[in-house]
Assembly symmetry: C2
């Protein structure tokens, strides 16, 4: 177990199965050979979000292309709870942080959303995807969260309604309510979207819109003011602990 | 309310009360005048951890020394739950992050602890203190967490036993237990120390030591592997939500 624990863990697209050979792309090969200093015969762990977790052995080690022989089946693919995160992009470093932490906490998808006080209008989907893959590799997840394109709040609300998802939104200046008690009332809900506002919170108009969403749950995360990225971790923690797989 | 919300919020040592005059130190004066571009007549919010929250007005604005006239009483001093964080110092950026987030989440004190796999042996108390003050100012807390010096794990366990504190430690590879259900069994406990291990977790020997602490609570934070700083936020969230002031 210890050897596997410290073996590099990589996400890839290729199908995985006993004795299959898979080719790693240029970036992964570079990481493995030049950064991790691995070579022929070294072990690694592979997952693709579909076929569970597999052990592999490096068969050919070139700087730009590694060939891996898939050897042992380690874990079956497990379904993660369908808990998504919708968040307003903030500063670059914090966005990376939000994606990393939310992936560790098991979110099924990211839905970046433009709000009245959104601090940033741009978010590169491809970068979010790479950050999510890296966090998934390190957190021992067996899948990588999906990344939706940046959308407006009213479009987000329409989408999650159409998909039959339950909305949980966090409003810091709302009336005191204990998040565990609040979430207990929706325990058993299967498709959840957790929405976290930008620094400075939602505008009054947005809060009215959110309060009018049928069945939506308003969560207050304690009496202190949390930064956007702290609110993400706290909200996903209580949602996973009460409605998820903790 | 909006004016106050965007007014600078400063922690200081001086006593606060109606019509008192307080002098800000060089760093705070610099921040106020040069960074925030404030001048005579501008408002700010003050707290000292004892006298509640007060509004003040800048009476003299020099780059190295500001004089503030304390005008209105905004909020009484409220007692925070006595929930401390003991943590193994990790990398510099993550330490800053841990201190910031834990302060936002209302910890009463920091107890840095040296463990078998501690990634860093050094932690500057004065820097932790400054980070905690900055986070307290921004989170609208009315106090600043105390900072204990770096200590060894066995000394920490002795200290918290002598002080009658309840130990909650997080072990990621322990058996599945839901943190909310686990914490419900100690709801009502007043003096809590939450202990988070280093990257790579506690050693087997340390886990035996921790399991042998009478009454200690072992918390598992979900099925995925969390980084040290994510574990801090998640653990403090569930502890505050179940045993704290959420």
């Amino acid at each position: 177990m210890n050897a596997k624990r410290y073996a590099p863990r990589l996400y890839l697209d290729a199908d995985l199965g006993k004795d299959k050979g898979v080719v790693l792309d240029r970036d992964q090969s570079h990481y493995l050979i030049n950064v991790m200093r691995k070579s022929v015969g070294d072990e690694l762990v592979l997952f693709n979000g579909r076929d569970g977790e597999w052990q592999g052995e490096i068969q050919q080690a070139k700087k730009s292309q590694c060939l891996v022989h898939v050897t042992d089946y380690l874990r079956p693919q497990a379904a993660s709870p369908d808990i998504e995160l919708a968040f307003a992009p903030v500063k670059k470093i914090q966005n990376g942080f939000i994606v990393q932490k939310a992936t560790e906490l098991g979110v099924s998808a990211f839905r970046p959303v433009h709000t009245d006080r959104t601090n940033s209008d741009r978010l590169r989907d491809d970068k979010v995807r790479l950050q999510a893959i890296e966090a998934a590799e390190q957190s021992e997840r067996l899948d990588v969260p999906e990344v939706h394109p940046l959308t407006k709040l009213d479009k987000l609300l329409k989408d999650i309604k159409a998909e039959g998802r339950h909305l949980i939104y966090c409003a810091e200046r709302s009336e005191k309510n204990n998040p565990v008690a609040t979430l207990n009332t929706i325990n058993g809900t299967e498709k959840i979207t957790v929405l976290i506002g930008p620094e400075g919170g939602f505008s009054d108009e947005e809060l009215e819109t959110l309060a009018a969403v049928p069945g939506a749950t308003c969560l207050k995360l304690g009496p202190r003011i949390l930064r956007a990225e702290t609110a993400v971790v706290s909200a996903l923690t209580v949602v996973q602990a009460v409605c998820g797989d903790w």
